[in-house]
């Protein structure tokens, strides 16, 4: 038993440090697939790594002395929240830690005196405002199934989570879209700067602080996708496939939608997302009550 746990822990720790790397590959796949959907050839899969290494070696420009520290914190806390997830900790805590990471990014972008960065930061704030409730409600709905907020408990289920929470799963799609900064909700920034806000939140980052931000973003993506893979935790292989399918869906969505504004983002998540989750929870409770 004890050996088992320590083995798991070691595995988790290895996983934690691999998270940014996995994220990098995911972003590479993202760019390749996106290119293919646009009938282009696309960059090599390891392109994101080239980007980050290059950024690391650029001449350091900063917008204020706080900026690199906050960029580092963004990366660090994204990693922390993933670590908490990998170690099977409390879901709420994980979401709140993710909140710290986002706050770091936002503060770093808001306190540079650049109009684009500030507007981007504001919209990033609104993105948080739109997806955090959905995430929290997801955690709560998971609680209704497992009776605990601990991630570790999900693995004790005999049926995959998705069989209880199909609607919650759907509600996570817009969250993922927002998090990956994809159309239609790439309101605060997008990968390529074809945006009214230039690079939005990222406008004032450059060189190594941008590299840190990229790393943080990758980690965050991995963390969100792992959250999704928990929906089939009885067999993690399927879970990971599930996450990848969702990832693919998000990419397709990115390619079939124009960018909408933040109001419709807020509307979607606060109405459709939340209604889906609530409906699911109500159904869940109804099921329990019926059985009794």
């Amino acid at each position: 038993m004890l050996e088992n746990i320590s083995l798991n822990t070691i595995f988790s720790i290895v996983l934690i440090f691999c998270a940014p790397i996995i994220g990098g590959f995911l972003m590479g796949i993202d760019r390749k697939l996106t290119a293919r959907m646009q009938s282009r050839m696309g960059p090599p899969i390891i392109q994101p790594f080239y980007d980050v290494i290059k950024l690391w070696g650029k001449e350091p420009f900063i917008s204020s002395t706080l900026q690199p520290i906050l960029a580092f914190c963004y990366f660090g806390f994204s990693l922390t929240s993933f670590a908490l997830l990998a170690l099977g900790q409390d879901l709420l805590l994980i979401i709140f830690t993710l909140g710290i990471a986002d706050s770091c990014l936002i503060i770093a972008s808001l306190n540079s005196k650049s109009p684009y960065s500030v507007l981007g930061g504001k919209r990033e704030l609104l993105s948080i405002m739109s997806y955090e409730p959905v995430l929290l409600l997801t955690a709560i709905s998971i609680y209704y199934v497992t009776g605990s907020f601990m991630v570790a408990r999900i693995f004790y289920l005999s049926y995959p989570l998705i069989s209880y929470l199909p609607l919650v799963f759907i509600a996570l799609i817009p969250v993922l879209v927002i998090d990956l900064k994809k159309s239609p909700y790439d309101v605060s920034a997008s990968g390529h700067a074809h945006q009214e806000l230039v690079r939005g939140v990222f406008t004032e980052f450059s060189g190594y602080s941008l590299a840190l931000i990229e790393l943080g973003h990758w980690t965050k993506v991995v963390m969100m996708l792992s959250l999704v893979s928990l929906f089939w935790a009885t067999n993690l292989i399927i879970g990971i496939c599930l996450a990848l399918v969702l990832f693919f869906i998000v990419l397709v969505i990115d390619n079939v939608y124009p960018r909408l504004d933040w109001k419709s983002m807020l509307k979607t998540t606060w109405s459709i997302g939340i209604i889906l989750i609530i409906a699911n929870i109500v159904g869940l409770i109804a099921r329990v009550v019926m059985h009794i």
Partner: protein, 385 residues
């Protein structure tokens, strides 16, 4: 008729509340949404646009003065480079102006050729615009799709005269190149292919709800304002006005039974639809022109130096272009004044922007199809201040 000060319409200073702190946003000259340099100073309340002040002149090269310093024949190439997108029509208009002063009769076949190439230019330009517009509203895949299909037109250009952008087939007195039968067939084949591709994209532009959400009701330009502010081209036709210089029947348009595309929506969406429909219309016009084009010479050389003055209007993809050319019988012109469509659309643009959100800026700015390179003069906007 009462004269109204432009400032009355453009200056929205009454919106500005002095007690409030507004954001001041520089938009351009370097901005990823607008590949061309124009500076718009936005006064923004949160995200709502309160006021816009344009600053032009980043592309001002002094072409009009250049035209006076150049040999008048070289000006064909200079006017083509007022803009790379409508290069053909600029050159053709200039040639037409010179022909008019020097009383040169242009062969009928050359007229048809000019019509064909003019429409090909429009096709190229509108496709380019549809792509850029898609990109501006954040629809990258649509942008890629359209630009992929646009390559068909560029290849046609290349087959015609060896270059993708600058067709360089203008000559005073006719055309520099002819379209022979095999080329004609290629034109027909490729355009058919293009039409198919556009038909596939039709539902995206006509029916996609997200695009509608993004464009409908954005950048309203009412009929009256459109006329008053001097909007031209698809911008005014999207406001329900039947304004098109092609209606004058210059070149071969008189024989082609041409009817302008008009949409009544007064917003960015109808302006987009006007352009999309014009793509299809251009394909039709080219085909019709091929059917009617007579055999014959294409060039009627006349080396008379221009003497006297004239004006000429033609329809560019973005609207009406206006040339005033004056010569004194030497090889140098004394005046060449060009009024380009985007320059006349800028006041309308400023007017459209006010009251919308920052996230609508790309939609609205692109909806007039801003082509700054021909708006190359300094515009003073008088304000009521």
């Amino acid at each position: 008729m009462k004269l109204i000060d432009v400032g009355d319409v453009i200056g929205m200073s009454e919106n500005v509340n002095t007690n409030k702190k507004y954001s001041v946003l520089p938009f351009g000259p370097q901005h990823p949404v607008l590949p061309e340099p124009i500076h718009l100073k936005f006064i923004v309340d949160e995200e709502k646009i309160i006021d816009v002040l344009p600053n032009l002149g980043y592309v001002h090269r002094g072409i009009e003065r250049g035209c006076e310093l150049n040999d008048y024949k070289r000006n064909i190439w200079l006017t083509e480079r007022i803009c790379g997108i409508c290069n053909y029509i600029h050159g053709a208009t200039y040639c037409a102006a010179i022909e008019k002063i020097t009383d040169t009769e242009v062969p009928v076949r050359a007229k048809y050729l000019r019509t064909i190439w003019g429409e090909l230019g429009r096709l190229q330009s509108h496709l380019l615009w549809l792509g850029l517009f898609a990109d501006a509203i954040g629809f990258e895949s649509l942008f890629m799709q359209i630009w992929r299909d646009r390559e068909i037109v560029l290849t046609l250009n290349e087959k015609t005269n060896g270059h993708r952008i600058h067709l360089a087939t203008n000559m005073i007195g006719g055309a520099r190149k002819d379209i022979d039968d095999s080329l004609e067939n290629e034109y027909k084949k490729d355009l058919n292919l293009l039409r198919k591709k556009m038909d596939a994209l039709k539902p995206v532009f006509y029916k996609d709800s997200a695009i509608k959400q993004k464009c409908e009701g954005k950048g309203i330009l009412s009929k009256n304002k459109a006329r008053f502010l001097g909007a031209t081209g698809p911008t005014i036709r999207g406001s329900g006005l039947k304004e098109d210089a092609r209606l004058t029947g210059y070149e071969a348009y008189g024989q082609l039974d041409f009817k302008p595309v008009v949409y009544e929506g007064e917003d960015s969406y109808s302006r987009m639809l006007v352009r999309f429909d014009e793509v299809l219309q251009s394909i039709d016009l080219i085909e019709k022109a091929f059917d009617q084009m007579p055999e014959g010479p294409i060039l009627n050389k006349n080396d008379k130096f221009p003497m006297g003055h004239t004006v000429i209007r033609t329809e560019q993809p973005r609207g009406e272009v206006f040339y005033y050319v004056e010569g004194n019988g030497t090889n140098k012109l004394t005046r060449c004044k060009i009024r380009t469509p985007t320059a006349s659309n800028i006041p309308a643009l400023i007017n459209m922007l006010i009251g919308y959100e920052v996230s609508d800026i790309p939609t609205i700015v692109h909806s007039i199809d801003p082509c700054i390179s021909c708006t190359e003069r300094i515009v003073y906007v008088r304000r009521n201040e």
